[in-house]
Symmetry: C2
Subunit: 82 residues, 2 copies
């Protein structure tokens, strides 16, 4: 299954509670698109959030994020790791 | 220990071998700055590489990356995860 890192850039001030709620909203519906969100890392100071997932396509990741209320600003298909 | 996600944006075409070599170059000297690189995720198509680390500061991460020959383009202190 392809792996993706998507990036949100407008989440300045995001709290642990808000990130947890956003992540839970993704998890609740991700199965409908065969997406599997692995983890989310946030920098509330710059407003950046990085989400790692496995999914059939970048579009599937975006559809879940969009329906959950937080579309990404960019996405990268991860094909090499170290 | 603070956690950081740094981003390289000019690594188009990076191969598994090249990313592995770059990561090993970091690991070889990271102890000198008390940095602990956890993982690197690359998208050779867009040239983006995301590196997760624990370190005393963003500057320590940059010094290791710089000495290893691949300074980052941006860095984010991760204070919230989900």
């Amino acid at each position: 299954m392809p792996q993706f890192m998507d990036v949100h850039t407008s989440m300045k001030g995001v709290t642990a509670e808000q990130l947890h709620a956003a992540h839970q909203a993704d998890l609740a519906i991700q199965g409908e698109e065969s997406v599997d969100f692995k983890q989310a890392w946030a920098d509330p100071t710059t407003g950046h959030v990085f989400c790692l997932s496995e999914a059939p396509s970048a579009e599937a990741v975006q559809r879940i994020h969009q329906r959950a209320g937080h579309p990404f600003d960019e996405v990268h298909e991860i094909t090499v790791t170290a």
